[in-house]
Amino acid sequence: MEFRDYYKIMGVDAKATPDDIKKAYKKLARKYHPDVSKEPDAEQKFKDVGEAYEVLKDEDKRREYDQMRALGAMGPNGQFTPPPGWNPGGGSYREHATGGSFEGADTAGFSDFFETMFGRTGGFRHNHGEGQTRLRMRGEDVQAELALLLEEAFKGSDQVVELRVPKTDERGRRSNRLRKLKVKIPAGTADGTLLRMKGQGAPGIGGAEAGDLLLKIRLAEHPLYAVDGKDITLVAPLAPWEAALGCKLTMPTPAGKTRVTVPPGSQSGGKLRLPGNGLPGTPAGDFFIVLKVVMPPNITEKAKTLYAELERELAYNPRAAWEDLP
């Protein structure tokens, strides 16, 4: 088990005051909150910071942690080993509402190190005086992301998703189990689409219904197409004479090849729109072709003569607008 330096995670000194720790937590929580942060591992960092704060904000837990840290209980392999007979802290209960907060209020996402030190907190029993009442609570929703190729999203596909779903045993102890689910992705699924699989989240407590699995679709970057919502854009290179005279192009699209007419006198940067040929749906997206005039790489002597003739014929100055500038 790896030792976790909570002070390092929080970016504070071991002598930091509770106020310093609270300030550091708020700053890092804002930085790594998965709804705010764009960092790829924000959720894990947010959990790490939450775990560190759970310990350092609590006077008793912090004292226990500091003792352990001072002992430097490292095994021969550099791994952390708690002293024999170490009794995980009682694990005070933190009441929390549902709603899928990222904060590790029930500590289910905390590390093995935390569990060894302090046990799992946030069990599912309320202490009411001397007795204990069993809670009835809907299971948590589980969120995951699934990366798809544009072609898979366009045509729809069957995907196998592997994810860890929390489970609770009869004593209220929490752990994760690996589940494999086969999910049918509907045709035309856009980047950022949320798919809900009812009842596939964490099981409910006390007979309440299970949470849902929410799967966020992410489209992998495509070498050819740019995708914005349901619209797809492709840059089409044209030879100068194709742009000048017009031409018929055979274009690749996710649905297969299609013929497109480029009108004579087309400009580089001009856009053609194939309505409804983007990602399918109601409404379907559009397919855009952006024209890009490309010069041929090898100019022969004869081609130079022809260009010179063209120059004389058109007498065109593409920078005419600059002539009036001071």
Partner: protein, 106 residues
């Protein structure tokens, strides 16, 4: 073992009642979200509030920001709007960079 499950797209065609939402969120929080304009509702013929899935997702995000970062409910509409705008601009920058890359490559 691989279980086969049905996936439903959470878009505006899927809607939830207030009772549905209260299984997951605190009712008072939902009502405040409606009051602050965080979660648009549609009212059906029976005068029952229906929340499109996109509203539910906003309530979820609002809840997380409120709970995890101690954000005041009154400030959440502005925060959510700014996050939306930032996300939109982020996507646009990515798309434009990609297009620029295609333009400059050849």
């Amino acid at each position: 073992m691989t279980d086969s499950v049905h996936a439903e797209v959470l878009g505006d065609l899927v809607a939830f009642t207030l009772r549905d939402l209260c299984q997951v969120f605190d009712e008072n929080f939902v009502l405040q979200c409606v009051e602050h304009g965080i979660a648009p509702v549609t009212v059906q013929a029976g005068a029952e509030w229906m929340f499109p899935a996109t509203s539910v997702l906003r309530i979820r995000k609002a809840w997380r920001l409120h709970h995890d970062l101690d954000l005041h409910l009154g400030s959440l509409p502005l925060v959510l709007e700014l996050i939306d705008e930032r996300d939109h601009l982020y996507r646009e920058v990515i798309a434009l960079r990609k297009r620029l890359g295609q333009w400059e490559r050849d």
